[in-house]
């Protein structure tokens, strides 16, 4: 009950500040199990993804994040564990342990939100190189689709070095799902996944037109 209330407070607040818009470009918000992978430039990133999912999907989608971030205070712990039901990955642990935690969450029926850059991008680069975690995860559960999600404008709202945020709208674009092909190796899949995410980054490239 209190979790639901907290969830609606958070989503309403996120909507007010960023007016977040959602483009379902390559897929629809269907109740399918997915791994959403997105660019990461702000702490608010997964809140935005989570907010833009319909409530039904939101309930089955869990963000993956470093455990230390969620244990810094009681309120964060409550939000992380009870509201977002985050999959907490111990910092400095080995990759296998992280993978086991994520696979367990997937086997429990959840969808995941992951940031394959591995860290927040605060520089001028549009997208950092991917780490290999997404490949191993997709390889371990090959039937689950990986959906690229481009989060636009958060960095325009408050560019590095500026003090005053400007109230521009943030847009989330969901691309077409991908899966690891049978004989696809790590480098090829990571390049394909990164390319699919970058392809969503062109600011107005949604090519929508009236019927």
């Amino acid at each position: 009950m209190i979790e639901r209330l907290a969830a609606s407070v958070i989503t309403v607040f996120a909507r007010l500040v960023t007016g977040v818009r959602t483009n379902w470009l390559g897929c629809q918000p269907e109740p399918v199990q997915r791994i959403y992978f997105a660019n990461h430039s702000s702490h608010g990133d997964f809140v935005l993804i989570w907010t833009s999912l319909p409530p039904g999907l939101r309930a089955m989608t869990r963000p993956v994040a470093g455990a230390d971030y969620w244990q810094q205070s009681a309120s964060r712990r409550f939000i992380g564990e009870r509201v977002f039901r985050a999959v907490a990955i111990p910092r400095g642990g080995d990759a296998r342990q992280a993978q086991e935690l994520m696979c367990a969450a997937l086997d429990g029926g959840a969808s995941l939100i992951v940031f394959p850059e591995g860290t927040r991008n605060t520089g001028d680069e549009i997208l950092l190189p991917f780490r290999s975690g997404l490949y191993w995860l997709a390889k371990a559960r090959p039937d689950i689709e990986c959906v690229p999600v481009w989060i636009a404008n958060i960095s325009r709202v408050l560019p590095k070095g500026e003090i005053l945020p400007i109230p521009l709208l943030c847009t989330l674009t969901f691309g077409a799902p991908l899966k690891v092909a049978q004989d696809e190796d790590k480098t090829a899949f990571i390049a394909r996944a990164r390319g699919a995410l970058l392809a969503l980054a062109s600011p107005q490239g949604n090519g929508e037109s009236e019927p």
Partner: protein
């Protein structure tokens, strides 16, 4: 009838129309059993109309301040949609912050204190000159003219033009004292009903596309039928204006034409940007700018026509 009674009669009339529209929408939805996206969209639009009319009614209750706050908010949301889609860079950050936090509030304060000499040139002259100076100081020359022109256009369309709706309250019309709110009701009602009637006429009789490259849903039949019937509606509303029925018809025709062409211009920009709607704020309608585009082009013209021929 007193002003108060006229306002009540007007809102009662609009409320009645919305009740009928909601009933029709309900029956259509029952018949289609939720299988028609067109009818779902119609009902979303009708629902949004209830909210919009309620907002305007609340603003009217609070009088001049309420109306200024309402349109300042509309300007803010419109400017936000507009600038989000523009190709601005980091070098424009201060200029854009200035547009949101200084120019926009200042324009509405100037209208609040009725300083016509300044609010009518503040954005076209002062913002026009100062913003490129601020941006130039950042020494980022890439696409400079395009960027600065886009921000200026955003201010003109979303702030300057929209602010001419509440500016109607500052007009001093002999024999029409204290009734200027009804002038706003006339403008908004006539122009918005023109949009709705164009949609209805187009759905019922639309055959020939009028601007297939700009706006595929607009038809000659929708344009002629919608603009003319909304202008007749304007004539029928002469009793809330300082105009004669014939003048009311002529002015309604003028603002409806401006509204129609405003819609075309804003469509052209959306085509250029590759988007269908300015935003997703109002369910069924798109963004704030999608709903306001016709009012934006009609308001300054309406303001100056009334100011030139009807004020003391």
């Amino acid at each position: 009838m007193t002003t108060h009674e006229q306002t009540l009669a007007l809102f009662a009339g609009i409320g009645g129309l919305l009740v009928i529209a909601s009933l029709v929408g309900f029956v259509l939805a029952r018949r289609a059993r939720g299988e028609s996206p067109g009818i779902a969209n119609l009902n979303a639009r009708i629902k949004a109309w209830w909210v919009m009319v309620a907002l305007i009614a609340v603003a009217f209750v609070f009088g001049k301040t309420g109306v200024i706050v309402l349109f300042a908010l509309a300007s803010f949301l419109a400017l936000r949609e507009f600038l989000t889609l523009m190709r601005t860079r980091r070098g424009d950050h201060i200029a854009i912050a200035g547009a949101f936090f200084i120019v926009l509030p200042a324009q509405y304060v100037l209208i609040g204190i009725d300083w016509y000499g300044l609010y009518s040139i503040f954005i076209p002259v002062y913002a026009f000159l100062v913003m490129p100076i601020v941006a130039a100081l950042r020494a980022d020359t890439k696409n400079f003219l395009t960027r600065i022109a886009e921000v200026q256009w955003g201010l003109m369309v979303c702030v300057f033009c929209v602010s001419h709706v509440p500016a109607l309250m500052t007009l001093d019309i002999p024999g029409y004292d204290g009734r200027q709110l009804l002038l706003i009701a006339f403008l908004v009602l006539v122009v918005q009903s023109s949009d709705v009637l164009q949609y209805v006429w187009g759905k019922l009789f639309g055959r020939h596309k009028i601007a297939p490259l700009l706006s595929p849903s607009k038809t000659v039949e929708g344009f002629v039928g919608g603009v003319l019937s909304a202008s007749v509606l304007g004539a029928a509303l002469w009793w809330i204006t300082p105009f004669s029925p014939l003048h009311a018809f002529g002015i309604a025709l003028l603002i409806n034409l401006m509204g129609f062409f405003g819609g075309l211009v804003m469509s052209a920009i959306k085509r250029d940007l590759g988007v269908k709607d300015w935003g997703h704020m109002i369910e069924g309608h798109g963004g704030m700018l999608d709903r306001l585009d016709s009012v934006i082009f009609a308001a300054p013209i309406f303001f100056h026509v009334v100011r030139f021929w009807w004020t003391a």
